[in-house]
Amino acid sequence: MPEIHVDNLVKIFGNQRALDQVTFAVEEGELFTLLGPSGCGKSTTLLSIAGFQRPEEGRIDVDETTFFDAERRINIAAERRNLGIVFQSYAVWPHMTVFENLAFPLKVRRVAKRDIRSRVADVLELVEMGEYASRYPHQLSGGQQQRVALARALVYSPEVLLLDEPFSNLDAKLRERARAWVKELQRSLGLTTVFVTHDQDEALSMSDRVVVMNRGVVQQIGTPEDVYRRPANRFVAEFVGRVNLVQGVVAAHDGATVVVSVDGSSHRLAVAAPGGVVPVSGPVTLAFRPESVTLLPAESTTNGTNTWEGDVHAVAFLGDHYEYDIHVGSLPLTVQSGQRMAGDRIKVHIPQEALSILADESA
């Protein structure tokens, strides 16, 4: 299985930079996700890899083959890249049966008729659509069409699989099943896959690694855990999951912890800084997830670092947890907890490890 190298892609639409020096490498056999809001450049990146967009600058290699290189004026035609792609709309050709849809890529490659039949049958079996070979697309459900689209992208053994928001047209229940199924298929085939989505749950649950993009700029590349627990900046923290943000100024600093005094109050927060590069002084933004906070009764005697007292403004019951809207002084916090705490006063404890220091955007 090949590796994909995307180097310094720049794509300009009008006077807007849709891609701004996008760089990443996809490792062999991994499921690599491009995550971001609409218009962040993730689809443009995918279409550039597929050959449907021509960036102004940069370079794309798959293994030793250069697909695109602006400097050397290399741009291999989409049809010569031998990639499998599943589109958001599935793009299953409506005038062909399921069999004909799958046979088309093989006919293009002049595969013998007998081989076409056996290959198509095998791949349809793989996506559990064997009995639908003679159906037309409009006779299939959305989920089935998606399987056909996937089968069509696999039948000619492409180097790389590209998935462009393939689940966004499925309803919620079906989507969850489809995710698990595609992930398992991808893993069992060991197929290098680039996946585009705006859905953070999808990205976190399926990916080996994620690249978070915004306005054409790569924000962070890492495992789902990295991106969720140690967001590189404010955008990533806010886009991937929910987050509490606290502004402050570095007050003290030793090798292992940084103490930040929170703006507009006398509170201090100690942050674990294991070997990371942290600002030694000046303003910082701290982030922590609502579910990482521990709630304690107001009368609790615990009074240590990172434990504050606050007012409960509102509580919402969301089935598997409660969501608290708590004000510590003038600082609003969102906290998730399985427990229903009584009373209007409450203590919150924010573990040191749960806090991350975000890169200063203005820098």
Binding site: A50, F87, H95, L154
Partner: protein, 601 residues
């Protein structure tokens, strides 16, 4: 990769059904697949060829025309020099200025009548509870689809000086009649023919616009008429401007009606002025006719550019319009039936009476209210159609309609794909090029091709002396219809469908041939039908290209009619009307079957 695929499955056999399936594939073939081969036809070459053909066809006739207009003598005479004499002659001729004024009056009156009528019928059909509005909205299209020349002849037979109804009203009933051989009379006939254009544009705008806008005005306390005046009509403004410009352009370019009615009484428009100068055997002056044609072309082009601007404005209006939902129904109450009667009356006058007139004329020796027609019955006119002259023209028309419709449909289908589904560098010029002939007067296309054939050696000579030259001119004139039919269908075919084709290894041409064109099939068929009918009924470009032995239906009808051979011409016009109705009807029926057939397949 199935080999690799099974290999991977083997390594990670975790026992899941998917892995098992992946394992299963290993038995079938472990061979590496060949890479797709590049297509034999390079896409770039094919796209360039398509573009070049369109450019040649559309721009081709204008360059020789421009050249001919700045020479001191006709191009077929040796030793011409650069000269603006043609322009001086035309602009210095008081008859030209007189014709220009007539043209202006003619076009303004035609546009006003057609736009007001078309908008009114559109509102009645789309926004009121008028009875039979659905079937009426289909029938309204007949006047633009039926052969223009035949219908005009029908009008003349019935309503012209000495026409059946004119004599009946004047001599028997002593009623005043509107003389149709005056400018207002001619505008009335022209507007009846062009009204459906305004109707179609307005109806489309109304069905796109959200009728909750009107509901909101109603609930704010406005009465139905107030809503009409303050909401509906302002909403139609872009459609009115847009269709008005097109109708104005077409009226300026109109040749048949002014030629048959006006010029007999010395009322000329620019079109007839140019035509009569061109055909004036005693003293022809091609350079000045060409100069006049260039002036007319410039006016039409300016109007087209204005219209393109307006279309942009309309698009802005459309984008804020909601989806077609429930239609607000204006209660007409007591006016329901009178409104329906008015619309029906329009259809009777624009279509039924001329067609009936033709039918009657074709079976009587002479059509007069003084003697009952059944005393004058004859089948001579129909027999005349079987004579060599007429038969040959009919054969020619059928041949060039068939061949022209096939060629144009194929070329426009390709050009539409190049324009909207390729990366061909000059693709953006194609939509404008393909719409341009719509606003170009037929006589300009005729004169332009005449010069073009004259200047292109052996090929030109062959085209000039055969029916194929006429076919090419008709194809260029009518190709906007093919594009207008195909483009909207193409926009409904998702671009991901052809990208999917490219991604699995098919080049541009293979993707077009196997995926996009098959999906475009209903539109291709519809455009073939429409092209066939349009070419069959077209005539004015041919007036400048026709030679003895290359006559087509339109040219022979006009020349025979002017010579007074009215009966056989009426029969021929009737044949043309019948052929149009049958082809359109059969086409529509087949299309319905094909479209639904594809759904049920």
């Amino acid at each position: 990769m199935l080999g690799r695929l099974s290999h991977a499955g083997g390594i990670r056999s975790s026992g899941s059904p998917l892995t098992a399936a992946a394992d299963a594939t290993s038995s079938s073939s472990t061979r590496q697949l060949p890479r797709p081969r590049p297509s034999l036809v390079p896409a770039g070459a094919l796209q360039f060829l398509t573009w070049a053909l369109i450019v040649t066809g559309v721009v081709g006739p204008f360059l020789p025309l421009l050249y001919a207009s700045v020479r001191d003598r006709p191009l077929y005479e040796d030793g011409g020099l650069f000269s603006l004499r043609g322009y001086r002659e035309v602009l210095g001729d008081s008859a030209f200025w007189h014709a220009a004024l007539n043209t202006l009056q003619y076009a303004v009156e035609t546009t006003a009548l057609a736009v007001v009528g078309g908008a009114a019928i559109a509102i009645l059909v789309a926004r009121t509870d008028m009875p039979a509005r659905r079937i009426l909205s289909r029938l309204i299209l007949l006047p633009v689809l039926l052969p223009a020349l035949g219908i005009v002849l029908g009008w003349i037979v019935v309503w012209g000086p000495g026409g059946y109804l004119t004599l009946l009203a004047d001599q028997r009933l002593h009623l005043p009649t509107l003389a149709i051989n005056t400018i207002p009379g001619m505008s009335l006939i022209e507007s009846a023919r062009l009204l459906p254009i305004a109707f179609l544009t307005c109806e489309a705008a109304l069905s796109r616009a959200d009728s909750s806008l009107e509901d909101a005005a109603r609930s704010a306390g406005a009465g139905p008429l107030r809503v009409l005046r303050s909401v509906t009509v302002p909403m139609l403004r872009p459609a009115l401007l847009n269709s008005g410009t097109l109708i104005f352009t077409l009226a300026i370019a109109s040749l048949g009606i002014p030629l048959l009615l006006g010029s007999q009484r010395g009322i000329n428009t620019i079109s007839t002025y140019l035509y009569l100068n061109w055909t004036n055997g005693a003293n022809p002056d091609p350079p000045s006719v060409s100069a006049g044609a260039v002036i007319l072309l410039a006016i039409a082009t300016i109007l087209l550019i204005v219209r393109n601007r307006l279309l942009g404005a309309e698009a802005r209006f459309v984008s804020i319009g909601g989806r077609a939902g429930r239609k607000a129904m204006l209660q007409l109450r007591g006016l329901r039936w009178p409104c329906m009667a008015a619309v029906t009356l329009y259809l009777v006058f624009s279509t039924l009476i001329p067609v009936l007139g033709l039918a009657l004329m074709s079976v009587v020796v002479i059509l007069t209210p003084l003697i009952a027609p059944w005393h004058l019955l004859t089948s001579d006119h129909w027999h005349t159609l079987a004579q060599a002259e007429f038969r040959q023209a009919i054969e020619h028309s059928v041949v060039i309609s068939l061949a022209g419709a096939i060629l144009t449909t194929a070329l426009v289908a390709l050009a539409t794909l190049v324009a909207h589904r390729s990366r061909f560098p000059l693709r953006r010029t194609l939509p404008f090029l393909m719409l341009y002939p719509r606003a170009t007067p037929g006589l300009i296309i005729g004169i332009g091709f005449f010069w073009a054939y004259l200047l292109t050696g052996a090929i030109g000579d062959y085209l000039r002396t055969s029916i194929w030259g006429i076919m090419v001119a008709f194809c260029v004139r009518d190709l906007p219809f093919a594009y207008v039919v195909m483009y909207p269908t193409l926009t409904r075919i998702g671009e991901e469908l052809d990208r999917a084709g490219r991604s699995v290894g098919a080049g541009w041409w293979l993707t077009s041939r196997r995926i996009v064109l098959p999906l475009l099939r209903p539109a291709i068929f519809a455009s073939f039908i429409l092209m066939f009918v349009e070419i069959l009924n077209d005539y004015d470009p041919a007036l400048f290209l026709v030679k003895p032995g290359t006559e087509v239906i339109g040219t022979i009808m006009l020349s025979e009619f002017i010579q007074g051979t009215i009966g056989p011409v009426a029969a021929l016009a009737l044949v043309q009307v019948a052929a149009t109705v049958v082809v359109l009807g059969v086409g529509a029926a087949l299309l319905k079957i094909r479209v639904t057939g594809e759904h049920d397949a």
